[in-house]
Assembly symmetry: none
Amino acid sequence: MVISTKKMGRVSAAPSTTVGDSPIARLCVKHGLKMTGQRRVIAYVLSEAEDHPDVEELYRRASALDSRISVATVYRTVRLLEEKGILERRDFGGGRARYEASENGHHYHLIDIDSGKVIEFENDELVGLLAKIAAELGFDLMSHRAELFGRRISSSSQQGDSAADAAVKAAARSSGHKE
Amino acid sequence: MVISTKKMGRVSAAPSTTVGDSPIARLCVKHGLKMTGQRRVIAYVLSEAEDHPDVEELYRRASALDSRISVATVYRTVRLLEEKGILERRDFGGGRARYEASENGHHYHLIDIDSGKVIEFENDELVGLLAKIAAELGFDLMSHRAELFGRRISSSSQQGDSAADAAVKAAARSSGHKE
DNA sequence: ATATCTGCAAAAAGTTTGCTCTACG
DNA sequence: CGTAGAGCAAACTTTTTGCAGATAT
């Protein structure tokens, strides 16, 4: 997370992504979208995101890279990318829509209803059961999604909801915690 | 105060529910809520609802029964009932929250990607698995949702396995709107 | 060139809240 | 009777939009 604080140009800091040419930016081009500077930044931020940022958060991260970006543009871009199938809008409650790159592979979400934190996990057993259920109903399972809303079992009374950078919690079993 | 002085004899095959004493109203009482006239009406509307109405729609239906109800009250009531676990809030996109009685039994949706038809089903095994997964991640499963997108198997035959926990509950539910 | 995009701010849309009066228990 | 609830409208939030100037292809 967190990008290198540079403006546009190639910042060879991250693994294999630069602001100027991110995976999502490439997808945009492939979809015939006009690539402006702000779109490239937003695409980069989205490519880098390991979590499920809402518009405000995307705006914050994008602004850090290029202050000439307005929230309106983030909203417009995000809607555009969703229509193109590049992004997926998630509703984890809380009133704001959150976004995630479609290319991130299949996984499920468990939302902590108290903190709003989102945990991603994979589970083959679940996939199998869902496929079985679909079959019993006479269908081939083409795709699916599942969201769990839960409350922490132990007694943790911290609620912090700051949308700071992804907070890495303790170790998780199935997968990593993301917000 | 009351509500409409006469019972709302919803003809048809509708269940036996009256404005004054609906299943949800009874749940409210059980939860120790003060039952006002408007709450009774809203509870009745919710009990009668076979779909997932949003606040505006609830307000419309409730107003038809008692014009002295305000939107604010619907919002407050709906939030109250959700906190009590009597209602479940759904996010089907579109910006507005939709509500559904918890007592309607938890069900899932299987969407036929070719026809767009939605089949509702229940599955205890699925509930169990999801609860288990949540527990493994350290959470108590409070609510969840799952949507399957499938394509009808044409050549295959329905294998009515004995383990068919999946029971098509109410395919007859029509009304279809929303996305 | 020129149709599209962006920033800004105002407008929508949905939901919450302060205050006063009403009414449930 | 006392306290929670209801109405009304203003306040809030999140998202959209109109317009004039900027920009990608």
